[in-house]
Amino acid sequence: MDAHVAQLQMQYRNYILSLYQQGFLDDQFTELKSLQDDGSPDFVAEVLSLFFDDCVKLVGNMARALDQTGTVDFCQVGANVHQLKGSSSSVGAKRVKGLCINFKELCEAKNYEGCVRCLQQVDVEYKTLKAKLQDMFNLEKQIVQAGGIVPQVDIN
């Protein structure tokens, strides 16, 4: 059992490191993890759940705003991008945040095609992140079920 736990823990460490190395996560995610303790054992999962609900809502708002047959309200699109940038920054979703920075500039330039392309990228990116973090939580669950402790991963 110990060898199995050790193997799972190693797999977990490597997986977390890869998420940072590939730019999916940044230091703010580390901050988030550091706030989780016995008093708030599900905090990270709760915050991420709120974030992904936010993504669904805001991407939907942006899609509707860009789907207008008349004049597109780029201010409205920009306001939603601003909110998504804030929440992605707060959870350490680095790639989503980066896309939002570009997206904001495209809104200010009233670049319709650019905005539509960027929205598609944001949609793909948050869903990709969601799947990757689900794999992370599944690994944590496997470690605990095997009788082990989820290791702290030093990303430096």
């Binding site: 008093g39 708030s40 915050v47 709120l50 929440s87 707060s90 959870v91």
Partner: protein
């Protein structure tokens, strides 16, 4: 009352109740409200939340609200952080108010926010490291 292993009755100790930091978190983003709630909890505080500046003002209207600290987001619907801060100061609210801005805000915007009545301004995302020195000063005062 607890008993020791020898069976002696231990005298009840008087316990000094330490005042918990009481914080109002004002932000339209539920993700950020949750994050700030946990940061405050992690440093031993308690918090209440408001979804925008108008809610924050309404919480204070009956004169009974008493927060040590208000974390005020800048951009919110219905009433933004600048307007809410001005209004709270007009209502003689003396809580420490920390404005929470984004890196995109320029110097002029931050200055205007400070002049509305903030004690401090911090950029998102907030962290324990950013907020703790300000709170320590508040608790020492």
């Amino acid at each position: 009352m607890a008993t020791t292993s020898t069976g002696d009755i231990e005298k009840t100790k008087s316990v000094e109740v330490k005042k918990k930091l009481n914080v109002l978190i004002v932000d339209d983003d539920p993700v950020i409200r949750k994050l700030h709630e946990i940061i405050i909890k992690s440093i031993g505080g308690i918090s209440q939340t408001a979804k925008n500046g108008e809610e924050a003002v309404n919480i204070h209207r009956d004169g009974n609200a008493s927060f040590d600290l208000i974390l005020m987001d800048k951009e919110m619907p219905e009433r933004d952080g600048l307007s809410a801060t001005k209004k709270l100061r007009e209502m003689k609210v003396t809580s420490m108010i920390i404005g929470v801005t984004t890196l995109a805000d320029n110097e002029e915007e931050r200055k205007a926010f400070m002049e509305a009545g903030l004690n401090h301004c911090l950029a998102k995302p907030l962290s324990k490291a950013k907020i703790l020195p300000l709170i320590n000063n508040l608790m020492d005062a």
